[in-house]
Each structure stands twice: as structure tokens, then as C-alpha cells.
């Protein structure tokens, strides 16, 4: 009974420490993923960080059920996506999205403007996709996720991912055909 820390038994405090260390590892491992998922919807850095932060807070509340890495990442992706969708619907700042792409190698102002215009058209076409197709396209563009990884993140079969990827690419190709033929 002498092993009390802050009024709690040592074993309980040790378990809390283990959970905190695991959560810190998940934050380092999946922080960028959650931010990019939110950014794929909002395309606003600050909003995306706020949404990813909220997703992590919620994940922390239920972390004792999400200690498995794959399960945590899948839960986090879905939470960040849903929170970003909700934020986008309610946000007044959605008109001030960062539509500019800031690649490091731009030769001129004209090229930067052209890239920005292309990116705007690309995201306009992505936003027009149904949600199920959109999240597949966004996740596959993040960190080079392949079909198996997207399947694990969305907890859906790989065949479903391939089917949705096909439909999404086909729709995007049709919408952006004029953009590639008339650069």
C-alpha cells in the first residue's frame, strides 16, 4: 500500500504512462496523415490543423480502445475526414481556401499562375466527386498509399478500393480532358 503515486497505485500510474507513451508515438506517426486528410477536404492549412487536432483529441479520449496502430490510423483518418467535411459545411472561411500550390521549382510567375489555375480546376473536379470516390483519390495521393493501404485505412475490401479508384479516375479524366488537351 506504500506504492501510491498521486493517490493511485503504482500499477495504475504505470499503465497510464504506457498509454501516454503509445499515444505520443501515434501522434508522431500519424500527425501528418491526419493533417493531410483534413487538408484534402479543406485546403486551408490552419483549418486543417484545427481539424486534425480535434481528431487527435477525440482519439485520445478513446485511446484505450485504439491501441493497435492500424486500427488507430483507420479511426483517425475517418474522424479527420468527417470532421473536415463538417467543418467545411459550417465554415465561413471556405471561400478563402489556399488554392495556391507552392512548389519550390517554379521558373516564373506565369508558370506559377498556370499551375495554380490547373490545381484549382483539379480540386474543383475532385470536389464534384461523390464522397466515397473522393476519399479514395485523396488517400491514394497522400504518401503514395497503394490499394492495400487505402483498403486498410478505410476498412473496406481491396476490390472495392480498386473499383472506386477506377470510377474516380475515369470521372476526373472526363472532367479534366479539356485541361490536358488545351494546356
Amino acid at each position: 500500500m506504500s506504492d501510491l503515486v498521486d493517490g493511485y497505485p503504482q500499477t495504475m500510474v504505470s499503465a497510464d504512462d504506457d498509454l501516454a507513451q503509445e499515444f505520443e508515438a501515434r501522434l508522431r506517426d500519424s500527425g501528418t496523415l491526419a493533417f493531410r486528410v483534413a487538408y484534402g477536404v479543406l485546403r486551408h492549412r490552419q483549418d486543417a490543423e484545427d481539424v486534425a487536432q480535434e481528431a487527435f483529441v477525440r482519439a485520445h479520449r478513446s485511446f484505450h480502445q485504439l491501441r493497435d496502430r492500424e486500427r488507430f490510423r483507420a479511426w483517425l483518418v475517418r474522424a479527420a475526414w468527417r470532421l473536415a467535411i463538417d467543418h467545411r459545411r459550417g465554415s465561413r472561411r471556405r471561400t478563402t481556401r489556399e488554392e495556391a500550390v507552392e512548389p519550390a521549382h517554379q521558373a516564373s510567375i506565369e508558370e506559377a499562375a498556370a499551375d495554380n489555375e490547373r490545381a484549382a480546376h483539379l480540386w474543383s473536379a475532385i470536389d464534384a466527386l461523390p464522397e466515397k470516390l473522393r476519399i479514395v483519390i485523396v488517400l491514394s495521393a497522400i504518401e503514395g498509399h497503394d490499394t492495400r493501404e487505402v483498403s486498410a485505412l478505410l476498412t473496406i475490401p481491396e476490390g472495392t478500393v480498386r473499383s472506386r479508384m477506377f470510377l474516380a479516375r475515369k470521372a476526373l479524366a472526363e472532367r479534366l480532358q479539356w485541361l490536358t488537351t488545351h494546356p
Binding site: Y8, M12, F23, E24, L27, R28, G31, T32, F35, R36, Y39, G40, R43, R45, A48, E49, A52, Q53, F56, V57, H60, R61, V101, P103, D115, R118, A119, L122, W123, I126, I137, V138, A141, I142, G144, R162, S163, F166, R169, K170, L172, A173, L176, L179, T180
Partner: protein, 194 residues
């Protein structure tokens, strides 16, 4: 059947998409997440589910214990139950087919059959009452007592069997004499009697 031939976006769009999604959060992002989590209320050892479970268990215990305590001393003892009354069941008339409209009336007007309460307790079995003349009962008792004492022999029994039975004297009833009614009828007969 859908044609799932791989469709690839033009390389420049694919590259543009990947480049757009290669954005990094600010360095303060992780710091802010840690600060926000620190501000979260510390999770209690007793979660709300445990509180609900404890409350439900307490209510269950009270629901079981309180009636038992009332039955033990809180209420006066209940009077002993009356023995079941055995009533002969009246024969039930066979059901007649009735129309659905008249079924309610028929149900109301049907003769009420007294309920038969059967006693299945063997300890409560009672022998049927046999009405015996007190003199016969006294004689039987005396015979049993003498037989137990060995004072009854075949000889005595034969004598008793041969002896004439004591038959009570017949009651003599004086016959009534009724005079015939005259021609005038009952009224004329009454007047004559007066």
C-alpha cells in the same frame, strides 16, 4: 459487367495532385495537440458506465431486501387460510354453436358453474362421515373393548347371534275417522258441525 481497365490520370495532373497533398503541418501542430490534450479533464477511475452499473445494482438490492423486511416484521401476520371448500361441479351443458354476434350474450347468460377446489394435500384427507346410531356405536365400542380384553368367546357370540334382536315397539297410531261430506258441500258440512 463494368470495364475495370485501369484509367490513369495524365501524368501532370497526377503529379500536381501528389504535390498538392505533400503539404506538411506547421512545427507547432504537435505542440498544440499535446497542449490541448493536457487541458482535457483527467479521466476518472470510475467511468460513467460504472456509475450506472452501481446504481442499477443498488436499486436491485433495495427491491429485493425491502419487501423481505416488510414481510418479516413490518406487517401484521396474515390470518390462516381457510380450508378449501369442495363443491360438486354441476354438469356443464354442451356448448351450442353460436354466431359471432350472439357469442357475447351467450357468454353472459351461460350458467355459472361453481369452481371445484380440489384438495391434493394427503395430510388433509378426511374419512367420510358415517351416521351411526349412538346405541350401536356404544355396543360396537363395548364389543371391541371386551374383545381386546379377551372376554369375548365364540360361545358368547353364538348366543348373541341366536338371541332375538331387540326391535323397538311399533308406534300405535289411532286411525282417523273422516265423515263423508254431504250433498251441500263443504260449507253445508261446516254449518252442520257448528
Amino acid at each position: 459487367m463494368a470495364d475495370h481497365t485501369p484509367v490513369n490520370l495524365p501524368d501532370e495532373l497526377e503529379a500536381l495532385l501528389r504535390e498538392t497533398m505533400a503539404v506538411e503541418p506547421s512545427p507547432q501542430f504537435a505542440v498544440r495537440v499535446r497542449q490541448r490534450i493536457e487541458l482535457e479533464p483527467r479521466k476518472t477511475r470510475w467511468s460513467w458506465t460504472w456509475f450506472i452499473a452501481a446504481g442499477a445494482a443498488a436499486v436491485l438490492v433495495l427491491a429485493v431486501v425491502l419487501p423481505m423486511r416488510f414481510n418479516e416484521g413490518g406487517l401484521p401476520p396474515a390470518p390462516p387460510l381457510a380450508p378449501p371448500v369442495q363443491v360438486e361441479a354441476a354438469p356443464v351443458p354442451p356448448a351450442r354453436p353460436t354466431s359471432p354476434i350472439n357469442s357475447e350474450r351467450a357468454r353472459v347468460e351461460a350458467p355459472r358453474v361453481p369452481r371445484v377446489v380440489a384438495s391434493h394435500d394427503p395430510r388433509r384427507f378426511e374419512f367420510p362421515t358415517v351416521i351411526v346410531d349412538p346405541r350401536q356405536r356404544a355396543a360396537l365400542n363395548a364389543l371391541a373393548r371386551l374383545s381386546a380384553q379377551g372376554q369375548v368367546s365364540e360361545e358368547i357370540l353364538e348366543k348373541l347371534a341366536a338371541a332375538p334382536a331387540s326391535v323397538p315397539a311399533p308406534i300405535a297410531v289411532e286411525p282417523l275417522v273422516v265423515s263423508p261430506i254431504g250433498l251441500g258441500g263443504v260449507l253445508h258440512f261446516e254449518i252442520e258441525r257448528r
